[in-house]
Symmetry: D2
Subunit: 328 residues, 4 copies
C-alpha cells in the first residue's frame, strides 16, 4: 500500500484527500495545512494524522506526497519532496515562471523520483475516450482541434490579480489538452483577448474573453476559446477533425429530464461546478498516480508537460500583449 | 403523361393539386368541387380547368382521379371512377363502415383498375427509411412496435361528432402504420380510452386520450397511444424493437437553433401543422401513385389495406365500448 | 449515528453495505450471510463485524437492519426484525404472495417500527426530478404515463423459473414507478405477453416480452412495456404527458463522445449494468432511509407500496393468463 | 408582377430559375446562357424564353436580372444591367478584386437601381432565426462568434486554381456571416492555413484547412474554421455567445431515424450537397429580392456587404501569406 501525505487541505486538497482515502492501493497517512483546523477536519474525515510539512517530508514511511498548496509554493515543495525521495503529484501549475519550472525539473531529474502534474481534464472519461479513439485511428490523421472552455462566472478580482492572467491561469488547461490530443508540438501561437465580462478585469490588465490559434510543425491547426462567463453552466467541449471524420465530447447535465411545452423542448443547464464536472477525472488521475508509482511506470502528465503548457501560456500572453504571432 | 382529374379542392385537395401539378410525369387537367370558387382558385393556380365530377368521369382523355372530397362520398366516387376506367387515388378512409368498404372493393376488383389509399404517413421520409432498414434486417426479427400520435389541439366538436370516433378518425393512421411495420396481421386488440382533454368530447360519446395494445399471430406486440392535445407541436413518433436493437423516428422542428441560458438548454417546439409535418409525405405518395399507374405496378397502400385498418379501428372501438379484448 | 446490521452480502448486499459505510449519519456494524466468506469479505472492506442473523437481531445496540437476502426470506426476516424493534429497509419484493405480504405488514404495524421497501428507481436523480417537476405543476394535470424497461439480456432460466414470472419479477418496478407518478391508484389492468427472446422462457411458462395498459379511477392511462433483451444497453425510460406538455427521462451513457464519419453520427450504447445505471439511486435510497429513521419521518416507499405493486403484478399475471382485463 | 431575366443557366442558375418561376409575385421571362442547350432546357422547364444577354438587357419590359454566370463576368454584367435600369441580384462574389468591386459599386450608385448579393446563408431558416433571436436580446450583448464550414470534399484542382484561394472562395461566406451576426465591423484579421486534405492543393498555392480569428472595434471575437473535407456531410454551424448565454444552429439530416444496436446509437450523416442544405435559403433570398424590388425597400446583403466580405477575404489571404495579423 502506497503511504501518502497530503500538503494542503483547501478545496482541491479535500477532493484529493477523499480520493486517496478511497483508493484500495493507497493510504492517506498525514495531512498538513497552514490552517490547522482545515487539516484537522479532513484528517477526522479520512482517518489520517495531522502533521507539519516538515514532518511529512522527514517521515521515511511516507512514500509519496500530493501537493495542493497555493501555486507559489509548488516548485519549492516539489524540490523538497523529491530530495526527500518521495514521489510527487502536484496540482498544476508547477510555477507561473518557465525558468523556475525548468530549475525545479532539473532537481526532480537529479533526484530520480517520479513527478506527475494534475492536468485533470486528460482523465475525464469522455475526453480520455475521445483521445483513445483518436489514437486508435477512428478518424484517421488528425487535422484540426477545437477546444472551448467557459467558466460559469469570473473569480474574485483579487484572485485574477495574482493569477498570471487568463492565458496562464485558465487557458493552460486547454494548452495541455491541445498537446494531449495533437501528438506533436505547436510551433506558432496567436492570441486575441478582450475584457467583455467585467471591465474591472480589463483595468486589472487581464482579459476575460480570449481566442487562440496554434499551428504545429505538421500544419495541424488548433482553435481555443475561453470566457470567464457561461450562464448555462461550466462549458467544456472538445472537437477534433481528421481525414475520416469528427469526434467530440461535451458537457455533463444533472439529469436526463427533457420537457416539451408550448415554448419548446428544454433540458437542464450544464453542471456548473468544476468539482462536479470533473469528479471522475479527479478520481482517475489519483488512481493513475498511485498505480504508476507502485508499478514503477512513467507518469503522465509529466513535469515536462507542465513546462510545455506553461511555455504556450507565456507565448499566448506575449502574443496578446504584442498583437503578433509568436514562434516557438 | 398521366392526365389526372381532382375531385375536391378543399384543404387536402389543394395539397394534392399542387403536388400533381409539380409532377413531371403527370398533368392536372380538371378540378371539381361543390364550391365552384374553390375549384376555380386552384385551377387558376395550377393551370387546370374547372369541371363537374360527371364531366371528369366522362372525359376519356383523363386517366386517373384523385379523390379528396368528404369521407361519406369516397366509396360512391371510387365506384363511379373505376367503372369509368380511371385509376383512383382516394384519401383515407374508403368509408367508416367496413361492409361498405368491402362492397366498394368488390366493384374495384371487377373493374380491374388500380386503387391506392392515402395513408400518407407510410411515405414520410423518416418512417419510410425506418421501414426500409427494418426490412433490410438491421435490427433482426421484429418484436415490438410503439406508435405515438398526438394532435396539437382537438378539432371542433362538430367534426368529432361526425368522425366515427377517435379510433376510426385518428388512430386509423396508427393501425395502418402498425400493419405497415409488422409484416403480419394483428389477431387481438384491446383499447382503453378517456376524455381528459375536453369533457365535451366525452359527453359526445368519444374519447380524446387512448391507448391500444395489439398482438399478432406470431406474438409480436404493438402499443399505440393517441391524444387530441400536444402543446409542444404535432407529436408523431415510431419506435420498433427487434432482436438486434431499436429503430425510431420522430418529430420535425422548424429550425436547428438551440439556446442555452441560465434556465437551461432549449430548442423549438415540434412543427404544429400536419401539412407542414407531412409535406414531403404528401408529395411522395402522389409520385408513387403516378409512377405506379404509368408503369402498371401494384399500388400500396391498397384498398385492402384501407379495409384492414378500418377493421382494426372497429375492433378497437368495440373493445373500448365493451372493455374486453377483441379477437380478429 | 444510526447503527445498522446488514442481512445478506451478495451482489446487492455489497452495494448497500458500501453505501451505508459511506453515510456520515450511519455505521455499518455487522454483516450476516449464509456464506461466511461473503460476509467476511464485505466486513473487511467496510470495517463491520461478521455476525449471525440472530446475533444481529438480538443486539440491542443495532438500530436498524437492511435486508438483502433471497426473496423467500424477506417476510420472515422483516417480522423478526420489527419484533426486535429494529427499523427495516428491505429489498423488493416483500414476498411473491400478496396474502403473505398483508400478514407481514400486520406484524410491522403492530410493532410500530418503520419499514421501507427498496424500489430504487424512485431515487434515480432523473426520475426523481421528473416526479418533482410533475408535482410542481410544470405540465399541469397528468394524463398519460409511458414506462419502458428493457434488460440487456435475460437472466438464467433457473432464475426465471423461481422468479414468479416477468410481471412479478421485472415489471413490478414499473408498477411501482406508475403508482409513484400517478398520484392515484390503477383500477384496471390488461396484459399481453409473448416469448420472443428465448423459446425456453415460454416453455418454462413465462414471457420475455410484455405490454400492459392500466387505467386509474380518474381515467389516466399508463402504458408499460418490458423486454428481457436490449442489445444497446439497459433501457429505462419514463415519459409523462399532461395538459401543458411532456416530461421524459432516459438512459445514461458512459461518455459524451459523439463520432461523425461517412456512415453517420454515433454515440455510446446505454450503460448495460443495472448497478451502474442506478448507482446514485442506490445511494440515495439508503440516505433517505437513514435520515428518515433518525428524524422519525414516515418512510416511502412503504410496505403498503410494496403490497400495491405486488397486487398489480398479480393482476397483470392473471390478465395475461386469462386474456381478460382485471379490475381491482 | 416583376419580370425577371436570368443570366446563366448552370447549376446555380437552374436553382434560381426554378425559384423565380415558383414566386407568385414574379415571372421568369427570359434566360441567357453561353451554352444554348442549357438555356433551352431550363426555358422548357420554366416556360421562359431563350434570349441573349444583350436582348435581355435591352428588353424594357424586363424589370430585373439575376446573374448566375461565371465570377469573372459578374462586375461587367452588373454594370451593364444597372445602366439599362434593371434591378440586379448577383451571385457572390461581385469580383475577386476589391478595387474592381468598388468601381462597379460606383456605377451601381450612379445608376440608382437596387443591387443584392447572393450570400444565401443569411437566409437559411436556422441562421436567420438565430440572428433574429440575437437581435431580440435573448442572450444580451454579443461577445463571441464561432463559425464552422466544412465542405464534403474538395472541388477539382482546376476550380481551385481559378478560385482566388480558400479565403476568397469558401471562407467569404463565413466573413459575411460574421458581419451579419456581429453588428459591427472587424478591425483585425489573423489567418492560419494548411494543406492537409490534398497536397496538390498546397502545391497549387492554396490551403484546404484554415482558421481565422477576427476582432471588432468593440473587442468582440470571431473564430472561423474551414476545411475542404467532411466525410459525414456538409458541416455548417454557427455558435454565438453573449452575456446571458449561447445560441447555436447546425446541420440538417435526411431523416430523423435513430438506431440503437450493440455498437451504440447512430443517426444519418448530415446532408452532403449544398443545394439540399440551403434549398430553403435559396428560395428565401429570391423572395426577399423580389419583394424588396417590388416594394422599393433597401436590399440586403448589399453591394457594400459584398465589398466588405471581399476585403476581409483579402486581409485573411494577406495574413496567411505574411503570417502577421492585418489591421483594417
Amino acid at each position: 500500500m502506497l503511504r501518502i501525505g497530503l500538503l494542503g487541505a483547501g478545496r482541491i486538497g479535500q477532493i484529493h484527500g477523499g480520493n486517496i482515502a478511497a483508493q484500495p492501493a493507497a493510504g492517506l497517512v498525514a495531512i498538513a495545512d497552514a490552517l490547522p483546523a482545515a487539516a484537522a477536519a479532513l484528517a477526522a474525515e479520512t482517518g489520517a494524522a495531522v502533521a507539519s510539512i516538515e514532518e511529512i517530508l522527514e517521515d521515511r514511511s511516507i512514500d509519496a506526497v500530493v501537493i495542493a498548496t497555493p501555486t507559489d509554493t509548488h516548485a519549492d515543495l516539489i524540490e523538497a519532496a523529491v530530495r526527500s525521495g518521495k514521489a510527487v503529484f502536484c496540482e498544476k501549475p508547477v510555477d507561473l515562471d518557465a525558468a523556475r519550472i525548468r530549475a525545479c525539473l532539473a532537481v526532480v531529474a537529479e533526484a530520480g523520483v517520479p513527478l506527475m502534474i494534475g492536468f485533470n481534464r486528460r482523465f475525464d472519461p469522455s475526453f480520455a475516450a475521445l483521445k483513445a479513439r483518436l489514437d486508435a485511428g477512428e478518424i484517421g490523421a488528425l487535422e484540426m482541434v477545437t477546444i472551448l472552455s467557459r467558466d460559469p462566472a469570473p473569480p474574485p478580482l483579487s484572485y485574477i490579480e495574482r493569477s498570471g492572467g487568463l492565458f496562464r491561469d485558465m487557458m493552460i488547461h486547454d494548452f495541455d489538452m491541445a498537446r494531449f490530443l495533437l501528438g506533436e508540438e505547436p510551433v506558432e501561437v496567436y492570441a486575441l483577448g478582450s475584457s467583455l465580462v467585467d471591465p474591472a478585469i480589463g483595468e486589472a490588465g487581464d482579459v476575460d474573453t480570449a481566442a487562440v490559434v496554434l499551428k504545429t510543425g505538421g500544419g495541424r491547426i488548433v482553435q481555443i476559446s475561453n470566457s470567464r462567463r457561461a450562464p448555462y453552466g461550466y462549458d467544456q467541449r472538445v472537437e477534433v477533425h481528421g481525414e475520416k471524420g469528427m469526434l467530440r465530447a461535451g458537457n455533463h447535465h444533472t439529469t436526463t429530464v427533457e420537457a416539451a411545452t408550448a415554448t419548446g423542448y428544454s433540458r437542464d443547464p450544464a453542471l456548473a461546478f468544476f468539482l462536479d464536472r470533473y469528479r471522475e477525472a479527479y478520481q482517475a488521475e489519483l488512481s493513475v498516480f498511485i498505480e504508476g508509482v507502485v508499478e514503477g511506470r512513467a507518469l503522465t502528465p509529466s513535469g515536462e508537460d507542465g513546462l510545455k503548457a506553461q511555455i504556450l501560456a507565456d507565448a499566448a500572453t506575449l502574443s496578446w500583449e504584442s498583437d503578433k504571432p509568436v514562434r516557438l
